[in-house]
């Protein structure tokens, strides 16, 4: 019986191929868009998590808070701002943590007639481990480099290529210009512009290349291969003239104690700063959480739009099923006259609408997977640093979309089918 009804459904659908196809298209597009949307957001999440992992995991970022002029005046004379010594003190007080200070300036590297302009970062040996970023040749900075204010430099891959081409830079000398250490020569007002400029950029030192970093590429819009590292102590002494650092990156071995250390560090630093709360600690996990929340919003909004598309497809099914019921009124009348029960008629039309949604759903899955990868590639090309943003088609997404499609077929088929089953046989038989 059921087999015969399903057989009939296929026959009837294939008898109106264009109509069935167009009705199916609504479901196909709906299912495909659900799958594609979820896959793209899912791909975004995978991309985000992996890129954050490339930046290192279990990290706390310690920043100095920007103080207002009034606050500065109020706290004058106290031990405020984030300093290199703070990093050393944390290292001593919390031996289980790994600390890397970071400070930088926009400088220029020069060798012969080749030069490279970019950010010069001062840090400590721990940086490499924490940031999961290691030298491909030579070595990274060492404790000795910092303790002796050595003029050692580690180059990013691109920097090494620009300055040295295919030659090995290890052991070679480069000149580094830059810094903001103000020259205090001459009287104000009586120097020419050219002289003034010269006076402000007098810092120029010879450095020895000790290492070249492995390629890491672009993460969140920053090219890590253009980085240049020198000892933080050297940078502060020669280019800054003061001991303030920009921020610290702190690695917490136990993920579950991130919040605890965040609190303790905050307390410790406020104490060191003589009670002034001028620091800010951000947990990488918080950041991830915030982004994940955004992704969830995306998932719901995009998924919702896709589901609306599916719903519209369902309305298409209902529409065409109503037309079908009207067209086949006489057939329904005849079937009832020869002994079809209400539920037989109901089942017949319900199976027809469900067949549309099942076939549409199946084709939609195929289209959705193609669309997801196609669109994923498009996103990857459009986004800076999104090179590995691929769509991730989750089996659960397929299941959800398909179940929903079949549900839509049943739901929207129900009304026309009920209408058909309730027809009066005598009237239906003579319907013109």
């Amino acid at each position: 019986m059921l087999l015969a009804i399903i057989h009939d459904a296929f026959k009837n659908l294939s008898a109106n191929l264009l109509r069935s196809g167009l009705t199916m298209l609504g479901v196909i597009i709906g299912v495909a868009s659900v799958i594609a949307m979820i896959a793209i957001v899912e791909g975004g999440q995978v991309w985000l998590v992996s890129s954050l992992e490339r930046l290192g995991t279990n990290l706390l970022f310690v920043w100095k808070k920007r103080l207002t002029v009034e606050e500065r005046r109020m706290f004058a004379g106290r031990n405020i701002m984030l300093k290199y010594e703070d990093a050393l003190a944390i290292r001593q007080h919390f031996p289980e943590l790994t600390v890397a200070p970071e400070v930088g300036f926009d400088g220029q590297l020069k060798i012969g007639d080749r030069d490279f302009s970019g950010r010069i970062t001062g840090t400590s040996p721990e940086y490499s481990e924490i940031r999961n970023f290691f030298p491909a040749a030579g070595r990274f900075l060492t404790t000795a480099d910092l303790q002796e204010w050595r003029r050692s430099v580690v180059l990013g891959k691109t920097v090494a290529e620009v300055l040295f081409g295919s030659e090995s830079p290890i052991g070679k000398e480069v000149k580094i210009f830059g810094g903001v250490k103000k020259a205090k020569k001459g009287k104000k007002g009586d120097v020419t512009k050219v002289e003034k400029k010269e006076q402000e950029t007098v810092e120029e030192y010879r450095f020895v290349v000790i290492g070249v970093m492995q390629p890491k590429g672009e993460i969140h819009g920053r090219d890590w291969d253009e980085k240049v590292f020198i000892p933080a102590t050297t940078l502060l002494r020669f280019f800054k003239g003061k001991n303030r650092i920009e921020y610290m990156v702190i690695y917490v071995p136990d993920r579950n104690r991130m919040d605890e250390f965040s609190r303790k560090l905050h307390q410790f630093l406020v104490q060191r700063h003589e009670g002034v709360d001028d620091i800010r600690i951000r947990n990488q996990g918080d950041f991830l959480g915030a982004v994940e929340q955004t992704l969830w919003t995306f998932r719901i909004v995009l998924g919702g739009i896709a589901l609306v598309a599916l719903l519209v497809g369902g309305i298409g099914i209902m529409n065409i099923m109503l037309v079908t019921v009207t067209e086949r009124t006489r057939e329904i009348g005849l079937r009832k006259a020869i002994g079809a029960r209400r539920e037989d008629i109901l089942l017949q039309f319900l199976i027809e609408s469900t067949t549309i949604s099942i076939i549409g759903g199946g084709l939609g899955i195929i289209l959705g997977i193609f669309a997801a990868y196609g669109f994923g590639n498009l996103v990857a090309q459009a986004m800076p640093g999104g090179g590995d943003w691929g769509a991730v088609v989750e089996p659960t997404a397929i299941l959800i979309a398909f179940t929903f499609a079949v549900g839509v077929g049943i739901l929207f088929g129900l009304f026309p089918a009920m209408k058909a089953s309730k027809l009066d046989p005598a009237e239906a038989l003579r319907y013109q």
Binding site: A15, R335, A337, I338, G339, A340, R341, R342, P425, L429
Partner: protein
């Protein structure tokens, strides 16, 4: 007694307009009778057919079919009665398109929940009986009018109904095909099948053994044209 209609009236309401199709109609049909119900259009023929075929209920009065009071039965039982006890034959054949002769005949068997293999055998047997043995797998649009009506007869007989109800069965056929169909009816009648034919054509009515004439919703005459023993084919 197979059919027992007592004081049946049927009133249709379409908005404010009230149409009385049957007025206080009483008739009986015995098992094995071949009855023609004749009348002009608008005489209430179709309404009577609908009531006899359990397609609609009378507004008032009683209908006993094979001893069961149809008015008091639940919908599901009436469906079963239509399936098992009544075989319909229509002027326009009412075969389903996109289905073969065999599939059309199988339909009432399917609704009777007969096993598939048995359905097939029974349908084949019926089509053979109406002389369409070599047309089993033809679609309805590949058959002539006479052939289509034979398929419809086979379908009507599928569940061995107590009553065969034919509504202008020859109305859409040429006289030769029409005559063939009437011969089939006579043949069935000889085998003891109860048949009621509804028609406006007195010539067709003459082939039956009893003729009931309907006018304005009332029976105006009820005459035995020839006793069953005299029927010759």
């Amino acid at each position: 007694m197979l059919i027992d209609l007592r004081n049946v009236s049927k009133v249709y309401k379409a908005g404010d307009v009230v149409v009385t199709a049957l007025i206080d109609l009483t008739m009986k049909v015995e098992q094995g009778e071949f009855v023609a119900i004749i009348g002009q259009s608008g005489s209430g023929k179709t309404t009577l057919l609908d009531i006899l075929g359990c397609l609609s209920h009378p507004t008032s009065g009683g209908y006993w079919l094979d001893g069961e009071s149809v008015n008091e039965l639940p919908d599901s039982r009436i469906t079963t009665i239509r399936n098992k006890k009544i075989g319909f034959i229509f002027q326009t054949f009412h075969l389903l398109p996109r289905k073969t002769a065999l599939e059309n005949v199988q339909l009432p068997l399917m609704y009777a929940r007969m096993p598939r293999a048995t359905q097939h055998d029974r349908a084949k047997e019926l089509l053979t009986m109406v002389g369409l043995k070599d047309r089993l797998y033809h679609y309805s649009n590949q058959l002539s009018g006479g052939q289509q009506q034979r398929v419809a007869i086979a379908r009507a007989l599928a569940n061995r109904p107590a009553l065969l109800l034919a509504d202008e069965p020859t109305g859409n056929l040429d006289s030769k095909s029409g005559n063939d169909i009437l011969n089939v009816f006579e043949h069935l009648h000889q085998q003891g099948q109860t048949i009621i034919i509804i028609t406006h054509d007195p010539l067709i009515a003459q082939r039956a053994e009893r003729r009931i004439t309907l006018s304005d919703g009332k029976i105006v005459s009820n005459e035995v044209t020839h006793p069953s023993s005299e029927i010759t084919v």
